[in-house]
Symmetry: C2
Subunit: 356 residues, 2 copies
């Protein structure tokens, strides 16, 4: 045997080995194959015999091996950094969004840079800095998905980006949404089915394109049901609790008052409930109130809100996936295949609505 001849010269310097765990070399030795074969198995490449694959996988399990993300990135020259810009959407939204994207980022071995991007006058500078620092792509949750200045930068620098929950995503972006129009239509129809004929609508922030789609859905449902659209029943809002307070006061001051209020998000719906209560009205006995988003407010309000649930975590997961695909495509010289995903919403019936 030539085993001792093969040994490398004794290391005089102390080893710099860091990982407590096994390395790919250990696995290769254990399985009796080369490093590359182990690597192939781990990356699911095709040209490995089933039997070999199993042997390697057993070795991996036996040694409790988990690959070093750092080494993989470095070797594959595929370090991907994705910027996730956010600007104070409701806490619940951001939260679920973050969890979904973090999970997907970990799964696909990309680094997520989470950046607050609050004040409009600083936005451009922040995005520019990210781009300059070599970010590989951007995720734009609402309301940033509709920000013109960010769009311009993205297009100028040809940075792959995904808009989430934008009403009408720019042509050079991938996007992930639910069908806001259809969802609002379904909710309005639901109220009509309960017998409501005067349905107040609190619109969302006009700067977000989803707002007008929700309004459109409301109008479509009225029309389909043979009800006249009454401009007085639509009042402006900004997606904030405070704006919901004011909007509801206007609606309930109408004569005759609406028997149902459809707020464009849950914050405003919660505000509507609060105003109704303070006016001595019962919800849903005197007015039904429904929201949109299924934010935490929906269940920390009494009565709990009937609302539209968006699969936010799934959407953010999909957004990361799409972005990574686009980035890899661009790196390989392929044209990224912009895709516009539409995910299913769900009408969640709780206790804030009832027959008219």
């Amino acid at each position: 045997m030539a085993e001792d001849i093969d040994q490398p010269p004794a290391r005089t310097r102390s080893s710099r080995r860091a990982r407590a765990g096994a390395t790919i070399a250990d696995v290769a030795r254990e399985a009796g194959v080369s490093l590359m074969t182990v690597s192939r198995v781990m990356n699911g490449k095709a040209n490995v015999r089933e039997e070999t694959r199993e042997r390697v996988q057993n070795a991996i399990a036996a040694l409790n091996y988990s690959p070093s993300a750092a080494a993989r990135n470095l070797a594959a020259a595929s370090e991907i950094r994705i910027g996730l810009l956010y600007s104070n959407p409701s806490a619940g939204y951001l939260n679920e969004f973050l969890v979904g994207s973090l999970e997907q980022a970990a799964r696909t071995n990309v680094q997520l840079v989470v950046q607050l991007c609050e004040r409009p006058q600083e936005r451009a500078a922040i995005v520019r800095r990210l781009i300059d620092s070599g970010i590989d792509g951007l995720i734009l949750p609402p309301p940033l998905c509709d920000a013109q200045d960010i769009h311009r930068l993205v297009q100028q620098h040809a940075v792959p980006a995904v808009a989430v929950a934008s009403g009408q995503p720019a042509s050079f972006l991938s996007s992930v949404n639910v069908d806001d129009r259809a969802a609002a239509e379904a909710m309005t129809r639901h109220l009509m089915d309960l017998g409501h004929r005067r349905i107040g609508f609190i619109a969302g922030n006009p700067d977000q394109t989803a707002s007008s789609l929700r309004l459109q859905g409301y109008r479509d449902a009225l029309e389909a049901g043979g009800l006249d659209f009454e401009p007085d029943l639509v009042v402006p809002g900004l997606f904030t609790y405070r704006s919901g307070l004011e909007a509801t006061q206007r609606l309930l001051a109408l004569a005759p008052a609406p028997t149902a209020i459809f707020a464009s998000n849950d914050d405003m719906a919660a505000a509507a409930v609060s105003v109704a209560h303070r006016m001595g009205l019962d919800v849903p006995g005197d007015v039904a109130v429904v929201g949109f988003d299924d934010a935490p407010q929906a269940t920390t309000t009494w009565p709990e809100l009937t609302t539209i649930r968006q699969p936010i975590a799934d959407m953010s997961r999909a957004a990361v996936q799409q972005l990574v695909d686009d980035i890899r495509a661009a790196r390989e010289g392929r044209r990224p295949a912009l895709r516009h995903l539409q995910m299913a919403f769900e009408l969640i019936r709780r206790e804030s609505d009832a027959a008219a």
Copy 2:
């Protein structure tokens, strides 16, 4: 000049170079120094002349260089992965917590693994899997900071961990909190200063050690102010909106009813406001209501809640920092210096309290 002799043999294989940006070699060339000097500057090592440091920094700026996290981790043998376990605290809390820790994780170049750890019966398995996969440390926000089964695993496997906002952190953990007792005392004193003599207290979930500290603060303030502690005025709660509803009903059914209600968190305080309104009581005219945490609910309620603000993002940043220090210490064979940080809280006065 020997410049052309120095050139490496023409590369026949295509370069595997990935980064669009500059590498440390580019910076070194630009600044006219060696790689190591650049590395030293970037890591803030002491033994570099001020003049050289500046030259390097200029080169870095000129090339808009940013180092590859993957390469740094690999070379320094210092890849650190931290597990952040969470279990459905309020969305606002988790949110701020995540943002803070993500930021600090990015800054210190460690990888954050965010893990949902909801159901008690699965917790142990999840934590064990994380540990087996070679996680280097754990962050335990409430309520997991007080979970006995997790504590046991952490101690058994000697995994560095930091408990955040635990009332009485286990002896083998580092911790970061605010002084819950002092904060509750301050809030109670605030109500007493406003002239309230009958102050209802809604306790928090007894499984979380912070709950009893908040109650203790309430009692301490009463005693210091010469008021008798009245057991009837303290009702149990679970930190949930729903439990706040019930607790408030009990408090307001008392005769005489309290003129102020101190809820152990904002969810329950929001519930208290809701119940008061439905009973036709004005807040704060008929009852003052105050909360704890400064969660989003505090400002999406009318009237906005007076509450105690914890610097959650700062706390999570500190937790990550502490954990990284502990991990590095352990790797170098030093004993980690367990530390118990206490950060400043703030009483935020809004519109839900008034003189008795």
